[in-house]
Symmetry: C2
Subunit: 236 residues, 2 copies
Amino acid sequence: MMERALVVLSGGQDSTTCLYWALNRFGAGHVEAVTFDYGQRHRIELDCAARVAVRAGVAQTVLPINTFAALGGNALTDANIGVRNGVDAKTGLPNTFVPGRNLIFLTFAAALAHPRGIRHLVTGVAQTDYSGYPDCRQTTLQTLERALCLGMEYELTIHTPLMFQSKADTVRLARDLGALPALADTQTCYNGIQPPCGECPACVLRAKGFAEAGIPDPLVERFRAKPLTAPESSLF
Amino acid sequence: MMERALVVLSGGQDSTTCLYWALNRFGAGHVEAVTFDYGQRHRIELDCAARVAVRAGVAQTVLPINTFAALGGNALTDANIGVRNGVDAKTGLPNTFVPGRNLIFLTFAAALAHPRGIRHLVTGVAQTDYSGYPDCRQTTLQTLERALCLGMEYELTIHTPLMFQSKADTVRLARDLGALPALADTQTCYNGIQPPCGECPACVLRAKGFAEAGIPDPLVERFRAKPLTAPESSLF
């Protein structure tokens, strides 16, 4: 029986690249996506994830999680808290840190995969550029993988194709996988706007990756103002 | 600084006993409870948990989880699926199995504990009488504990005081901790009724434990019909 994979698809650059990685590795028709509607500040991420899934031709399950908002106290789900750059002096973590968010996402992904007989989970977390999130690290994910296997009595593998890639590596990988057009549909900006603000840490990190890879960002290209009077750009 | 503990309180016999274990170990004023409103079939469990918390004088946080119901497909949260005794021939698991339920509960408990500086989680899972749930086993919980510590960069201990106790041991422990009166408020019956049906596997297991310990079940006592005409039972 052909192995199948479930990709945690957030609507961002990394998870979209991972979706194409999974399509390449497991084959079209053997890949599904799961997206979490967890009260994220920017609903546009959900729209992006849906568009990416449609473009890639994969079935997408959207699972709600109302627990993070109830926990409160972080800038990702609490509209009353502004996103601050850098880390909190007391905790050493960014104020967008939701404790255990990736652990929860992967555990629910496993709970979705289990009854479907899917044994491969794919997530776009990366340790290299990791912005202070300990739940993105290799050792964390390896330990969680074992906890999931034991707790569900089910052989599962968590794939993290971007774990040790730089942003530039990830951009090159996206190009090699034919994922660049899909990246025009992704959402990165911490301010939740398209065109992206270009100034928040997430935008800066993304731009740096594309620049280092020497590849134009399809998202930026999409919003590049066309010359108003260039005759060759008009179809009429 | 005095250590503090967060107890996962379901409203059942085991978690109630663990609440009193934590009060004994960490001291009154150093224990909190968290209860999950995850779409459980029997809402009476939530009422029981609230009554137990009030009686014990501990603060209780109720966290919603709407994800299990969205996952569907099991008898605990899906009203269209009847509870069956025994295990499924295909999966080897009871049809009340929600994959990863305890992993999710403990991860959210950790996410609640983290910003409060609480470093001890207490759960009433037991491997001895475990009814086919792999997420109740010692190795699973130990591995999860490590994943939580790594993923939150935070030293946490998961306590499982009932892990290797028989039901009779647990009843004796409840007696020694002064928890017996609180057990009158707990909910065990798979049919979600009080007085309990006395016939489902959960009721039978509970009754067996009290019988072996030679202690009357306070819940059963509470519903024992009083003689209709006994003059001393009337206040009027």
